[in-house]
């Protein structure tokens, strides 16, 4: 009788239902144990990915996230419970995962992935699972994986819709599959698509899509089955329709195409137009605004969020959603100070640019940090999101 030296008796019992699957077996389980996976983002997607990879016995899991657990996370981030609210996600995740499987190693990075640290962090892992929620980090993870020759298991969600693919995977012929930049050469202009002003996610959707992402990570590691490399999967929860498209490399890819022009990580916020605002804006802090109110100054406040957000929480202001602001110049006062606000200050800055450029307003003030900052700074008993 041969003795397995890689697994303890407890591990063999734990992984028994994997080991007995024909075509998976001990060989795949050993690959899982010897592998390392970096999960970028411990949120809606990261929750099922981390839970299933830990349960499956991936030997070393790294987790990158700089957020703390918030009440508004709990409807979809099933990794966390109310007792973790206020605790860094990485710390809460590590504790939960080690209680699920003590036979694995967890490394946490309680930081934002940046162009400065990405190569060093990603370089230590075999596979990356990208479950982030913004375009700059998507391109950063993609490019870092290309520069380091790492496979990137991608998943993304929006409202009722999810996408999954496997990027940059080495095939049996030694050729790497397509990547995010082949599919999406440039990101959406922050003002060109309604991704900021429409939002939200059905809580179960990241559970579905993140589980598919975990599946693809396991397939990449074990080389069992056919991964989504070269294919792009989409799922629409409303119609319950899924589609799998064929995708291919783009010779003009600036990182790994025929004539690469990007040879190191760049400034991804700039690339994605997040830093597009150059001219300084006049700003007002929550406490200043409170002073203005207490002094009885004459001013107007405009909230440029969407109606659903406004209905959820507002401070009794006028509502002019950003999508309609360029047609609303006539309803905005020119003779008093006008404070423009949104959730965090980004959309309101955009609204001010539009109003200044189109109508020549010079009396507009951006509420610093939006309604969330206002509620927190003034310690108001109102919900945040």
């Amino acid at each position: 009788m041969t003795q397995n030296t890689l697994f303890s008796k407890e591990e063999l019992a734990r992984y028994n239902r994997h080991i007995i699957i024909p075509g998976f077996g001990m060989e795949a389980q050993e690959k899982l144990k010897k592998s390392s996976v970096l999960v970028v983002g411990a949120g809606g997607l990261g929750s099922p990915v981390l839970l299933y990879l830990a349960a499956a016995g991936v030997g070393h899991i790294g987790i990158v996230d700089c957020d703390v657990v918030d009440d508004s996370n709990l409807h979809r981030q099933v990794l966390f419970g109310i007792e973790e609210v206020g605790i860094p996600k990485t710390e809460a995740a590590k504790k939960r995962l080690l209680s699920l499987n003590p036979h694995i190693n967890i490394t946490v990075y309680n930081t934002q992935l940046t162009s400065q640290n990405a190569l060093e962090i990603i370089g230590g892992y075999d596979v990356v699972a990208d479950g982030t929620d913004n375009f700059p980090t998507r391109y950063l993870v993609n490019d870092a994986c290309l520069l380091l020759n790492k496979p990137n298991v991608y998943a993304s969600i929006f409202q009722f819709e999810g996408q999954v693919s496997v990027f940059n995977q080495l095939n049996d012929q030694g050729v790497r599959g397509p990547n995010y930049r082949d599919l999406f050469p440039t990101p959406p202009d922050p003002g060109a698509v309604p991704n900021c002003s429409e939002a939200g996610v059905l809580g179960v959707l990241p559970g579905i899509i993140g589980s598919l992402q975990a599946l693809e990570v396991i397939k990449v590691i074990t080389n069992v089955g056919d991964t989504l490399s070269g294919r792009f999967f989409t799922f629409d929860a409303l119609s319950f329709e899924s589609r799998t498209f064929n995708i291919s490399k783009n010779p003009a890819n600036p990182v790994n195409g025929e004539n690469p022009t990007i040879k190191e990580l760049i400034d991804y916020e700039q690339f994605c137009g997040v830093k597009a605002i150059e001219k300084p804006l006049k700003e007002v802090s929550p406490t200043d605004l409170q002073d203005w109110q207490e002094q009885g100054l004459d001013f107007q406040i405009i909230d440029v969020r969407e109606a659903d957000e406004y209905d959820y929480v507002n401070i009794g202001t006028e509502l002019i959603p950003l999508s309609t602001i360029s047609a609303s110049g006539g309803t905005i006062d020119r003779n008093t100070r006008v404070v423009v606000m949104c959730k965090s200050g980004v959309r309101s800055a955009k609204a001010i640019r539009i109003l200044e450029d189109k109508y020549g307003f010079n009396n507009l003030y951006n509420l610093e940090g939006g309604i969330i900052n206002y509620i927190n700074e003034l310690e108001l008993d109102l919900p945040t999101y």
């Binding site: 929620d133 913004n134 993304s156 969600i157 996408q163 440039t186 309604p194 589609r243 064929n246 291919s248």
Partner: protein, 93 residues
Amino acid sequence: MATVIIPTPLRKFTGNSAKINISGNDVSEIIANLVHQYPDVQKHLLDPSGSIRSFINVFVDEDDIRNLQYNHTHVETRSVISIVPAIAGGNLI
């Protein structure tokens, strides 16, 4: 008529329709007819020069039109044209 699949971010411009039947012999005719029927879709789908924006992919059945004949890709009445944009989570800023 071919079937056009509208992605979630664009549905607010198509009266919340997710699937629309559009006539046309190739992708450019389908897009032109879609935009004619739902003018608000135009600026989100097309850049100022009239090209499909580079963060949006168009597939005829399973294949990317970039691997077919781009806008001139032939479309049958049973074809399904999917518009697939980049999405990045539900985080508001």
